[in-house]
């Protein structure tokens, strides 16, 4: 056990060093966002503010609030709808397998790996055609469509854990497809829905490519607005850092309170589950 006396401090040293690397950006974000602009000099960026100044939060909140709301209007329906589709597909693909269902599942799954650039040009043409270009419903539609592969995967893996015997005995009792879904699968799916919803919420909130190509000015979700903040002529770093924190807050809060489910989603999303 003498070996442990040497190794344990080394382990801690490594963990602490890498933790500092991971926390450094957060420290700088928080510290900078609390400084007044005249204190945000390049040479003093690591120093704590001499007095707390929340004016960057006020400024960035004023600028980002409408986009923050846009993101909420986008994320809530898109998350719920894509989760529902995922549950329906996952149920069929795990408990009502048919010849070719695994191939079909693989074909659906491919959709989550494609670079979205490869569908972006037709998508914009399509959204213009149906009058959904530059609208939040247009973005909702996109996230529901391209969210299906991951939600289907998660629910399929989740439902695979529900014993087939339960389904079989329900069938013997005369329950059909819908009743089994409604009375057996859905009540057992609460964890599944939480995991999927957290995953989709985080992904859609953080998404940028669709947001920046489908929407302009007042329809833009938060991440585009944040990016625009840095595109302005004079870079007010304190406002930008406050804005970045505001934009990150919802997903950070979800992680802090429901991190366990977030990690579950991450593992479920790595295909093998």
């Amino acid at each position: 056990m003498t070996a442990r006396r040497v190794t344990v401090p080394i382990f801690y040293l490594l963990l602490i060093a890498l933790s500092l690397f991971h926390l450094m950006p957060i420290y700088v974000m928080v510290v900078t966002s609390l400084k007044p602009l005249d204190q945000v000099t390049l040479s003093e960026m690591w120093k704590l503010p001499t007095q707390l100044d929340f004016s960057s939060y006020v400024t960035s909140f004023e600028k980002l609030a409408p986009n923050f709301l846009n993101s909420i209007y986008l994320v809530v329906p898109a998350t719920l709808l894509s989760a529902l589709f995922g549950a329906m597909n996952g149920y069929v693909l795990s408990k009502w397998k048919f010849k070719g269902s695994d191939t079909l599942f693989t074909l659906i799954l491919f959709g989550m790996f494609i670079p979205y650039q490869s569908i972006l040009i037709p998508m914009i043409q399509f959204l213009r055609e149906v009058q959904l270009y530059n609208t939040i419903p247009g973005l909702i539609f996109i996230h529901v469509v391209y969210g299906q592969p991951i939600t289907t995967l998660m629910f399929r893996n989740f439902y695979a854990g529900i014993p087939d015997e339960m389904i079989e005995s329900a069938k013997i009792d005369g329950a059909g497809f819908l009743r089994i879904f409604q009375h057996i699968m859905l009540p057992l799916s609460i964890t599944g829905f939480v995991v999927v919803a957290i995953w989709q919420f985080t992904n859609i909130w953080n998404e940028f490519l669709f947001a920046v190509t489908i929407t302009t000015s007042d329809q833009q979700p938060i991440m585009v607005a944040l990016q625009n903040l840095s595109g302005s002529q004079i870079v007010q770093w304190n406002v930008q850092m406050a804005g970045a924190l505001l934009a990150a807050l919802p997903t950070l809060l979800v992680y802090i309170f429901l991190g366990k489910y977030f990690v579950k989603g991450l593992l479920a999303g790595s295909v093998k589950g």
Binding site: P115, Q117, L120, I121, T152, A244
Partner: protein, 320 residues
């Protein structure tokens, strides 16, 4: 397609079984059908449409779908910017995956030990995954700003790094129109990306370590192996399938990366931090070169498919 085949094959089954299942089977198809149609159109149909656009002359605001053959592809592969993108993507992908795997394995093994405060450390490594690449880009843009950020410390060591504004190419040699090698500026982007994604591989490896039964370690200990030997000879080899998954998932993220680089550096001077994702966005939506943009998108898709298709097929086989 699949559902059509399915219903046809049902007719060949014994009539008795078919009658019993008819209603439920119809409902099952009804459950799947909306998704199947949406995926068929918006994934496969749209990819085909993009492929068609990439072979056209549509390089202005006015759609012109006349056939251009491989003109756009030939143009790209001779283009200084696209050649730079290929170099940058290759270097970025290798460095990014390398660090994510090494640091991820190291941290997972450390967090697998009996140490106090493990869950705090785990959360510190995991939380950046909940952030947007845009947030990461904005923050690291400042941290790696040459006149500030981490350079304030490095200056004391006599180092004056230019980070993402550096246009030097390490180990460079002439290749096509460009200097091939490691663009120094890419390293800045790699640091930000590794910061964000290490948690992913830590989580994967920790799950893998949790799945190794204690008996395996016990048996090795009985045979007199040291803890270090147990990890090197037994545990890490057992984690190989996880490494394959992490490499493939990271590779596909890296090959299609856009938002991090767009928010952090943009294309950079002399395109030292440009990648196909950024080029596609700018040439299509800022320059209206739709056919060129479509060609870049198709090349991106093919590069991702090379990794993903075998992975999907093998994980399906592994299941059945």
């Amino acid at each position: 397609m699949e559902t059509v085949q399915q219903t046809q094959s049902e007719f060949t089954l014994p009539v008795k079984r078919k009658r019993k299942l008819t209603k439920d089977h119809l409902l099952a198809i009804g459950f799947l059908l909306p998704s199947v149609i949406l995926i068929a159109i918006f994934v496969y149909g749209f990819i085909a449409w993009t492929g068609y656009v990439s072979l056209s002359n549509w390089n202005s605001l006015v759609p012109d779908l006349s056939f251009a053959g491989l003109k756009n592809y030939i143009y790209l592969f001779n283009d200084f910017r696209f050649q730079s993108d290929l170099r940058n993507t290759l270097v970025f992908t290798i460095l990014f995956i390398g660090f994510v795997i090494i640091i991820g394995q190291l941290l997972a093994v450390l967090l697998d030990q009996k140490l106090r405060g493990k869950s705090i450390f785990r959360n510190i490594f995991f939380f950046p995954m909940a952030l947007s690449f845009v947030v990461t880009g904005v923050v690291w843009q400042w941290l790696l700003n040459p006149s500030t950020g981490v350079n304030l410390f490095l200056q004391k060591l006599g180092l004056e790094l230019k980070w993402y504004t550096d246009t030097n190419i390490l180990a460079g040699f002439k290749w096509g129109h460009i200097e091939f090698g490691i663009p120094v500026a890419i390293i800045a982007v790699v640091i930000a990306a590794v910061w964000q994604m290490t948690g992913f591989s830590v989580a994967m490896y920790l799950a893998g370590l949790g799945g190794i039964p204690d008996e395996v370690r016990e048996a090795a200990r009985m045979d007199g192996a040291t803890e270090f030997q147990i990890y090197r000879k037994i545990i890490l080899p057992l984690l190989q399938p996880i490494t394959v998954s992490v490499v493939i998932i990271m590779a596909h993220i890296s090959l299609k990366i856009f938002d991090l680089i767009y928010a952090m550096t943009g294309p950079g001077a002399n395109f030292v931090t440009d990648v196909p994702g950024v080029y596609m966005f700018e040439t299509t939506f800022r320059g209206n070169y739709y056919a060129s943009g479509a060609a870049i998108a198709i090349i991106m898709l093919l590069s991702v498919a090379v990794f993903i298709v075998p992975y999907l097929i093998s994980s399906r086989r592994g299941e059945s």
